[in-house]
Point group: C2
Chain length 419, copies 2
């Protein structure tokens, strides 16, 4: 047994090392079909873990059907649903394509993708563009003409302009922006306003010559200037790019993915191949944006965005972003306690994510399933609240279900005791 | 006596009300000669309080002479000094012209000025543009060809472009940017990176059509994007614009100006006309940016920038900006203690400046000379450290001398006991 323990410790240190060495850089903006591995014209991706169409939550069903219509594969929502049911549309999790999607995670062939390269390992990961503000977005499973118009504008106008700007900038260092944003009150999940502002400051001069028509440049500049969550999607792609090289390290008990499909919560573990260990998703505790909305309107926990917690951001560094406590009526002391609690389930500390209110202590990073199972402390996730049909209705925080970790540790024991 | 006390309380509440009602908006960018009251072609302004040329500190002497050369009034530094000594150049404090200047505060006829209007009272105040980064700037009393070139570019190129952008934006709400920046780790004196980023996000779209030549737009956009202290100067002008209507309220013991000329520290008090109460300026405690620099190289406390503390920013809300503690090896707890200490000498709380790490408590505002004298707690100021000759060499914090407040309370007793 002690032999296994030493192997686990060594493997976890190696995993931690991979996470800390990651150098994610936004290098391009391309249509999904051109860059996302395995993407096809008749495929729609959604937030993980995998789930059959008939068991999907409202935001997934609405959003996926919406994407089928937006891509011109069907004329109506009902036609889209029929095609999906007949298997003419392939429906797969983003995570199976090196992609992460916020909320419903709807990603189709034409979707403009942020391409983030982990310069230390050469791998790439992807996430769609933020659609800007608003409660009705395809990201939240909503779809109508106005949403379609914005998606088409993003694909046809914003994508090539932003691509030209990113190429002109020689790429944008996501890790450096995360470090700066954490000094500016972002935890980089529910709050990425500072990251978005720092990114905008870096990219704005490069937008100027990104298109001949000044009005086009103006519309893109205005869109990016107004988008307070824009950079969250780049941070998500960066997290995935940092985590992928940490997969498949034998004996490692470190979590390499966490994701929610509105029905189930799933985790992947480095030493356990690409298996999803799932359990029913919890309800999100938080603030509803309108008085008519309450817990009974909400879908359970949804989205790939907790890839940020998987690299030690979001709920893991609440102490960096006291403003996020306003969603849960929490205090600064709650935020600090939560961050300290997350330290108990992590394998290391990320000195490049310094928390100002904790005298610049580094944030916890690398969730160890052994520690979760032993302490019964579940990862804390900052997240949005989605309506059970579709649309954004609130924001707050949620715990990962302990059952996922219990299943994973059992699988770990089976795999490595047998070996 | 109790009659006087009631009058003071009433006057102080009235003063506080004026401070809280202030609505500073950046409305224009104009050459000093066109907008600064009393400005003439042969005048150079400097940071207050008033001081004769021969007693001035190095940064003032160098900077003022530099401005005379830059304006084309003299060919050389020595010629400029002769003109100043002969009285052909008028040398006056910024504060006497509704103006505030960071560091040496050098402001001459051609200097491009941020024009901030207090919409609640209709008055205007002014501050020069930030020259961008670097240790050698006229703001720090330095002057050479490179500095002159940048000043000329700012006056001829940046000023009209930024003016057009500000007019196109219909003005920029400084109060709102301060509120956002405090949520993003700025205390708005030593740290204004978030304020500058939020301002940039607001103004960037308006820069696009501010000039026909794209290269001009590009150079201005790049300059503003790179300038991490840009918005401090707007915040300073805003502070002055908010404080001016609070002047000359009979019986008010609230401070309406604090300023340092590198030799003396001076304060003005609402109920005491425009009298400066002065005492020798203290040395700044802090971090020197190069190992060869130490306290013996530094000029004493210098600049009008502590107008920010006079409206409850900077050192008064250190708890909002733990990063600033890094200059003084302080902790988060030190920052919170300092903010709590400043509450003891203030007349009120500004609910629009919410400190995240203190569960969004409002910041203290309105320094009461009675409370300073009684508690012996001197206002705490975040500030730069200037070389005794010229140039920026560090940053840290400093206390206002208690002697200024003792003199003021004595004058107050004389004035109002007699009345």
């Amino acid at each position: 047994v002690s032999g296994i323990k030493a192997k686990i410790e060594e493997a976890n240190q190696k995993t931690l090392d991979v996470l800390l060495r990651g150098q994610p850089v936004l290098v391009d903006i391309r249509p999904a079909l051109e860059v996302v591995p395995g993407m096809t014209e008749n495929m729609v991706l959604h937030s993980a873990p995998p789930i059959e169409w008939k068991r999907m939550c409202g935001p997934h069903r609405h959003g996926i059907a919406g994407a089928v219509v937006w891509e011109g594969l069907a004329d109506t929502h009902d036609d889209a649903v029929s095609m999906i049911e007949r298997g003419e549309i392939l429906v797969e999790p983003c995570h199976h394509h090196d992609t992460v999607g916020a909320g419903a995670g709807i990603t189709s062939a034409t979707t403009p993708m942020l391409v983030v390269e982990n310069k230390s390992y050469g791998n790439r990961a992807y996430s769609c563009l933020s659609e800007g503000g608003g409660l009705q977005l395809i990201k939240w499973g909503s779809y109508d003409e106005k949403i379609a118009e914005n998606l088409t504008w993003q694909a046809n106008v914003l994508r090539p302009v932003l691509q030209a700007a990113v190429l002109s900038a020689g790429g944008v260092d996501v890790k450096s922006i995360i470090a700066k944003a954490v000094q500016m009150g972002d935890e980089c999940h529910n709050r990425s306003i500072a990251a978005s502002a720092v990114f905008f400051r870096e990219i704005a001069p490069h937008l100027l010559n990104a298109h001949e028509d000044r009005n086009v440049v103006l519309s893109c500049t205005e869109s990016l200037a107004a988008s307070e969550h824009f950079f969250l999607h780049a941070i998500m792609a960066a997290a995935k790019a940092v985590l992928n090289p940490a997969k498949n390290i034998p004996y490692s008990t470190v979590v390499t993915a966490m994701a929610r499909n509105g029905v189930e919560f799933g985790i992947q573990v480095s030493g356990l191949d690409d298996v999803w260990f799932t359990a029913p998703a919890n309800d999100v505790d938080g603030l509803f944006f309108r008085s008519e909305w309450g817990p009974e309107d909400a879908a359970p926990d949804l989205g790939d965005s907790c890839i940020t917690e998987t690299i030690g951001l979001g709920g893991f560094i609440q102490a960096a972003a006291p403003t996020v406590q306003q969603y849960v009526q929490g205090s600064m002391q709650d935020a600090i306690s939560n961050t300290n609690e997350m330290r108990e389930i992590c394998v290391g500390t990320n000195q490049e994510v310094q928390i100002p209110a904790m005298d610049f202590a580094g944030g916890p990073i690398g969730i160890d399933i052994r520690k979760v199972v032993k302490t019964r402390i579940a990862p804390l996730i900052d997240t949005a609240i989605t309506h059970k049909d579709h649309g954004l209705i609130g924001a707050g925080q949620v715990r990962a279900p302990l059952e996922c970790f219990d299943k994973a540790i059992k699988a770990f024991s089976s795999k490595y005791s047998a070996g």
